[in-house]
Amino acid sequence: MGLLRPARTVTTPSGDYWELYVSKTALPAWREGNSGFQPGMEFTYGTVGLFEIPFMVLSFLWSSILVPLGRILVLLPISVARGRRSHAVRIEALSPYPRRQLLLWMTTDVHKERVLDEIAAGLAQGKVVCPAGALYSGQE
């Protein structure tokens, strides 16, 4: 049961596809800063001079790529270490299409397999269930 491989895949009666992931680590979210620059919108800003474009691109790379990446590189080992010490288990259901949806349940090591089975069975019937021994945290 790898972090990047779904533990179960489910298709609902209406055809929605769900992947269920089990992990002990809450991955840090990708949080972008605001550089004030949107790629592709350069030509809609009438007052932007040619000299400003490189600075805006650098600012965009800094706040949207480098800072979030640095944040994740710092937080990821902490999250992994915390997850390994904890008996808490995260079960995430991801529906990548037609609209991306991510549902989260929290449970413990003891109930992990049963809770996963019940969630998968519920989704297979088109229902979001909250099995005993788990907490449904809603959509992420």
Binding site: R82, S86, H87, A88
Partner: protein
Amino acid sequence: MRFFRSGAPAARLGALGREGTDAYDLVDRLPRGQARIAAWNAYVCQTYADKLVDACRDSHFARSDTAALVRDLYALVPVWLERAEGAGAPRDLPFPHWHTPDRCWEQLVGMRETLEALRTYLAFDLAQTGGDEAELESVDDSLETVASLWIRRPPPELRSGIGEALRRGLDAAYALGQRLAAGGG
């Protein structure tokens, strides 16, 4: 590190509860009715505050939200005791709750031990009055939920879920105790 923490020393908080120790036995001495309901309310407030303080004894320090709730609970005890002894005017005072969803470990321990103590009292009271143990169902549901999620170092999502289950259980126990104290089965 204590210099940077906001809150109160557990020993100082515990001292606030000395005036209310009568609450532990008064409820058993009163006949069923309004006075006994007030004594039950005093008993719950005293028990809850004492258990929260006890849970903080290892760290010798209570977080500021714990300290605030403990003070509110201890402040209610003499009010309810006066009412139980017929001295205070009838009042409808709400049972104090936390103002935030995030519970720390000590708070969860205090809440769980309170709920278990109230459950024991209520089961005994039901047995004495010939009541139906099924009335404890919502309290037992909360305790079962809590037991199934109880692990060391729970993450915030679990702590908030456990705290919510305990809050529901405490509300249910408080209300059931009032009904029994009034003489209802």
